[in-house]
């Protein structure tokens, strides 16, 4: 067995990724900047940052705070709107042999559907429906913490989308399996989890929150145990493919998520510390497979 005959292919909602490694939305831009650091052709998919039907300004700065082994952000989904994405970023990404996942945001069901509709004629592969951004007050996270609303927005977006729809879940809930089940009933083709936890940091010298928005989304290696637990729980509760994320930094981290039941994995905050993190994760997965005589990740997926 050698690196060449490892079978790394995974199927998410009918779309085949050549390997299970993608990126977490919002941590990779649209890939353009990372093309200077890594070969985008090696990624299973690129997940672009969240877009809405019209441009969003986002939250005031400071938007970033560092915490022990992690970080907070309160970007608030600043984005130039889906039309700009379709015009500028999709053609750029299509030059590469990788799948394109577009993360979409909205404040109302209508807005979500509007983005999905506009993307229906775009040359992309999957839609990731973000119902879990803790940084946007209206809508956004509200859909992610209420099973009924999560189901409804999923169903409506599915009706308006030509592309398979992955739903991205919020970890800030009492029982994530309940939301996962509701979303599955709504017709989701896959799930991705977790989005950021809700966190806070205070500047004790200025005696103010570090973030202008007071609270923000908490990500990075620090949150991995929560992410892994939720992927494990959801994988046992529903049979949809899962893109696992939350603190993944190494191939070993990725294997933990796959053992817990993830079909694919996304690298997020790790990209900021190490622009080559996705490649390290991919190489690490292959090394683990070789060392353990694993030909396909199907042999170990969800066996924990």
């Amino acid at each position: 067995m050698n690196k060449e005959n490892l079978d790394l292919k995974v199927n998410i909602g009918g779309v085949v990724l050549k390997n299970p490694v993608t990126v977490a939305s919002g941590t990779f831009g649209s890939g353009r900047e990372f093309a200077e650091f890594i070969d985008l052709n090696r990624l299973g998919a690129v997940t672009v940052k969240g877009v809405s039907s019209i441009p969003w300004k986002g939250n005031p700065a400071p938007r970033i705070a560092e915490t022990y082994g992690g970080m907070l952000n309160s970007v608030g989904l600043q984005n130039p709107g889906v039309e700009e994405l379709i015009k500028n970023d999709i053609p750029f990404l299509r030059q590469y042999d990788t799948k394109i996942i577009v993360n979409i945001a909205g404040k109302t069901i209508e807005e979500y559907c509007d983005v999905a509709e506009k993307l229906s004629h775009a040359d992309i592969d999957l839609i990731e429906l973000n119902i879990s951004c803790p940084n946007v007050k209206e809508g956004g996270v509200a859909f992610g913490i209420d099973a009924r609303m999560a189901k409804e927005v999923t169903r409506e977006v599915k009706r308006h989308s030509k592309h398979p729809v992955i739903v991205k879940l919020s970890p800030n809930v009492t029982d994530i399996t309940q939301i996962a089940k509701a979303v599955a009933e709504g017709g989701a083709d896959g799930l991705s989890l977790i989005n950021t936890l809700l966190g806070m940091a205070i500047d004790i010298h200025r005696r103010k929150p570090i973030l202008a928005n007071v609270v923000g989304g908490f990500s990075g290696p620090a949150i991995k145990p929560v992410a892994l637990r939720m992927v494990y729980q959801v994988a046992k509760a529903v049979s949809l493919p899962i893109i696992g994320m939350g603190g993944i930094t190494t191939g070993e981290d990725a294997i933990e998520f796959i053992l817990a039941g993830a079909t694919a994995v996304a690298v997020g905050t790790a990209n900021f510390r190490n622009p080559r993190a996705t490649m390290d994760v991919l190489d690490g997965i292959k090394e683990y497979m070789l060392n353990n005589g694993i030909k396909s990740l199907d042999e170990i997926r969800g066996i924990v």
């Binding site: 941590t27 990372f34 200077e36 650091f37 700065a61 938007r63 970033i64 600043q78 905050t269």
Partner: protein, 257 residues
């Protein structure tokens, strides 16, 4: 391909209380760096994931090295201060756009505040004509001789009056009746805002180098924004300090935050 490099720390010395000068060996950075650009320094401490952006203070073509001057402001810079010469540090850069140098201007005003001063040193090396450098500090001026050696006139204000003029840099500019065709400035936001208002009142074009908390430094996280005017005056947008800046025309910046 771009990558984070492990480079050798040639020097790392205290130059004032809680203020250090660090020289890094990197032909690659030297080859392309411009005044006003910055680098990302990465911590060894595993608890600290995010890069520390530090401005390039000097670009030494002969030695193939860059100089940085940094204040010990928290855990990351404290860690840097303990690095010994000969050790390595992880660095990415140069990043951002530097100053938009206009060599046609005859009378240059350069304004620095505290740890905003360092990037101005490399800038001054590239300016033509008369150069007046106005610097404000809490109490310990830095880089004064270095600016003078480049032929600039240096004017100093300290908050506690321990050196020269007692007060802030704006008061100093006013007191000395500073005149010029362009202003280049770097320092704390309240200082930049005040000087920008003065510059506007005098109709002097001004460039400001801004700071903001960053997660990536390469334009992907959209974390490091500053509020700027759009073409149509009423409308505005957040621009990225790391990628669109850190230098902006002062009349583009919306200071009211």
């Amino acid at each position: 391909m771009k990558e984070i490099k492990h480079v050798i720390v040639l020097e790392n010395q205290m130059i004032a209380p809680k203020m250090y000068s660090m020289a890094l060996q990197s032909e690659e950075i030297v080859r392309v760096a411009k005044p006003g650009q910055f680098v990302n320094l990465y911590c060894r401490g595993e608890a600290r994931l995010l890069p520390r952006p530090i401005s390039i203070c000097e670009i030494n073509k002969e030695e193939g090295s860059i100089n940085l001057i940094y204040a010990v402001a928290g855990k990351g810079t404290e860690e840097f201060s303990r690095i010994e010469e000969g050790e390595t540090i992880e660095v990415l850069g140069p990043l951002g756009n530097g100053f938009m140098i206009d060599k046609s201007k005859k009378r240059n005003i350069v304004v620095g505040g505290g740890v905003g001063t360092p990037p101005l040193l490399e800038l001054v090396k590239h300016l033509k004509g008369e150069i007046d450098v106005y610097l404000g500090f809490r109490s310990y001026p830095i880089l004064v001789e270095e600016f003078e050696r480049l032929g600039a006139r240096v004017h100093i204000a300290t908050e506690d009056g321990s050196v020269d003029f007692k007060g802030n840099v704006l008061e100093l500019l006013k007191k000395e009746n500073a005149v010029g065709d362009i202003i280049y400035a770097c320092g704390p936001k309240p200082m930049l805002k005040a000087v920008a208002q003065w510059a506007a009142s005098k109709n002097i074009p001004m460039q400001v180098s801004l700071e903001e908390r960053m997660a990536c430094g390469i334009g992907v996280c959209v974390g490091c924004v500053c509020k700027t005017k759009k073409q149509d005056e009423d409308d505005w947008q957040y621009k990225k300090v790391c990628k669109d800046g850190p230098v902006f025309w002062s009349n583009e910046v919306i200071w009211d935050e």
